[in-house]
């Protein structure tokens, strides 16, 4: 009988493939890209790259960043990952004002809507909460320890979001589940009241997103390894609609390319007016757009924006204030990857709103590099290079790795008896040193 445990990620000699991530400041002030341990930020207002500074021990991240996010008001930014650190940054000065140590690697991070707390998920499936210091920029004393508030037993949290009204925190895991929990006024005692479980995915849930406030406070959208995007009434845990992304993609790809593991949903992003859902699909060189009709409670296929053959977005982002959809492709921790090769490629889709995108429009739906805001400076800062040839080389290997990565990351591996014993011997749960 197979007998593997979740802690395998801690012990494996070869670090896991880490996709590049992109996040956009809610008011459009900046864009951040994380690839490997590097955090790259571009200030869109000033039109220049940002240099980060760190008050907390002077170290930036030393290992792959797995999650990034902006706070709802844009004042704060959080990054966390394999170095077991959660870093909180002020976005006006881009100084790191707080660094929190986790016992285990971090897979997901979120900032509460009021900016008072940061939550992060460790590889055992526990969500921890830390009180954030004042925004005034003073040094924060680090004796406020993380407290556990929610647990998905023995599972990996893939996505964690606060509802727009701040009442709930939703967490999705590798074991097909989405849990919606009431986020109490005093969360330091834990979030114990579960509102609902949204159950229906038949494979890992890779990403979740709440619809915006104006649409009424009950809808959640999720994407999964089962190649579906689902619309939920999260108050009651009802599955309202399912979009079988696989069917659409199969029409567009060659038959030999539609291997099941290639069609997992990599990321979803809602447009700021709630009318569209952009879907990034592992193994698909483009972005699929779905319309989201909350009156009829349906998701429908709108169109596909195909990109060049070698471009598969690993992460999507948009801001409240602009109609740009940012996508990035990149990765770290790939076999034979040199540190200097942390290159990414950005592609931006304009007019990311239903009324602006006509489904009959077959023209180029992406910005050319020259049309990108602050074009060269931005692309150089966030991509790491403007050299097309060099990029293509790196991205080709990302492409190859991507086609198996997500499946490997989130589907449990099975080992032989000896290999298991070997792994057990190497295991080590580090305790936090105080």
């Amino acid at each position: 009988m197979e007998d593997t445990t979740v802690d395998e990620a801690e012990v494996s000699g070869a670090a896991e493939f880490a996709p590049a991530l992109v996040a956009a400041h809610p008011q459009g002030h900046s864009v951040a890209v994380a690839v490997g341990p590097e955090l790259r930020v571009f200030d869109l207002k000033a039109g220049c790259a940002v240099s980060l500074s760190d008050d907390c021990g002077g170290r930036f991240h030393s290992d792959a960043i797995r999650a990034i996010c902006f706070s709802v008001d844009g004042a704060l930014f959080a990054s966390a990952g394999d170095d077991k650190l959660v870093k909180v940054w002020k976005t006006d000065s881009w100084r790191c004002i707080q660094t929190i140590t986790s016992e285990k690697r971090v897979s997901s991070v979120a900032i509460s809507n009021d900016g008072l707390y940061v939550t992060f998920a460790d590889k055992f499936g526990v969500i921890w909460l830390v009180t954030l210091g004042e925004h005034s920029g003073e040094q924060v004393s680090v004796d406020n320890k993380p407290v556990p508030i929610v647990g998905h037993y023995c599972s990996i949290i893939t996505s964690m979001k606060f509802s727009p009204d701040g009442r709930f925190i939703a967490t999705a895991d590798r074991d097909f589940k989405i849990r919606v929990t009431l986020f109490p006024k005093n969360p330091l005692k834990g979030a114990h009241e579960i509102q609902s479980f949204c159950l229906g995915h038949t494979d890992f849930v890779s990403c979740i997103a709440f619809t915006s406030k104006s649409e009424g406070q009950r809808f959640l959208i999720s994407g999964g390894g089962d190649s579906t995007v689902c619309l939920w009434d999260y108050i009651n845990g009802y599955l309202l609609d399912t979009c079988q992304v696989r069917d659409k993609v199969e029409e567009l790809l060659e038959p030999n390319e539609t291997d099941d593991s290639n069609l997992a949903i990599a990321d979803i992003c809602l447009s700021n007016d709630g009318s569209l859902v952009a879907v990034a699909i592992q193994g698909f060189n483009g972005v699929m757009l779905l319309t989201c009709d909350l009156i009829a409670k349906k998701l429908s296929f709108l169109k596909v924006i195909t990109m060049e053959k070698s471009y598969i977005p690993t992460s999507l982002a948009t801001s409240f204030s602009s109609k740009l959809l940012w996508s990035v492709m990149g990765a770290s921790n790939m076999p034979n990857q040199a540190a200097s090769q942390l290159l990414t490629r950005l592609r931006i889709i304009p007019r990311f709103q239903k009324n602006l995108l006509s489904s009959s429009d077959n023209g180029p739906a992406m910005l050319e590099d020259t049309e990108v805001p602050h074009s060269e400076k931005l692309l150089l800062a966030l991509q790491g290079s403007l050299d097309i040839a060099k990029q293509e080389e790196v991205l080709a290997s990302v492409l190859a790795a991507l086609k198996v990565s997500m499946h490997k990351m989130l589907v449990k591996k099975h080992y032989s008896e000896e290999r298991r014993e070997q792994r057990k011997r190497g295991r080590n749960d580090k305790k936090i040193k105080n």
Binding site: M1, D3, T5, V126, G151, Y153, A191, E193, K431
Partner: protein, 261 residues
Amino acid sequence: MTRTNGASGGGAAGKLPRKRFYRARAHSNPLSDSHFPVPVSPDEFDLSQHYPRYFPADKGGGEEEAAAATAPPRISFADVGCGFGGLLVGLSTLFPDTLMIGMELRDKVTEYVKERILALRATNPGQYDNVSVVRTNSMKYIPNYFRKAQLTKMFFLFPDPHFKEKNHRRRVISMQLLDEYAYVMEVGGIIYTITDVEELGEWMQSCLERHPLFEAVSDEEVKADPVVKLLSTATEEGQKVARNGGQTFQAIFRRISLQEE
């Protein structure tokens, strides 16, 4: 260590299965993902397989058809880690109109309980139709089987393995798992725990006391509850402890609703 099962068909003949054909190690690793089917959601949990008398003449997913007539019966009691089924058998006749289920991780032991129930149904017509067992990992999949506020009683008898120290969070009773148990229990439902390991007993008591959705059941109520006696007498483990003159530690709590400030 485990013998192959030579006692199949025990249920059909009405003969109780022999335990020695179902021996398994006492411990099973709840952190591992064994490959047993898990319903995607409670709606997909086919009760007709478990309680045929209550869901007659259907082809799986019997609830829809029963629903056409009246509200379908739902499971009210869950025995988490039911072992060889001693408690369930005792509860079945005490609550003949209540549907109850045992959840057990070990394959062989689950088979034993299935055979035992079939045999009991055969030799006691009209009885034991309300009890069944499912092989599953209740620490991971409870929400897949039960809807919000469905259960009126949950049982955790002699949990084992009882992880030590930094593995406390892997115990079947923990602050995090109590969130899920509270979710599937209705307000007013009762959670029963018992163990012969003092430290574990203290741990479970402490978790339940600290959890905002549970409050202790008063001593008078505990004395008056006919179920309580079964905790220490109905199961193999309980009987073993009694034979050895050991002490048991109970924690019985009620699921309450959160008081908002």
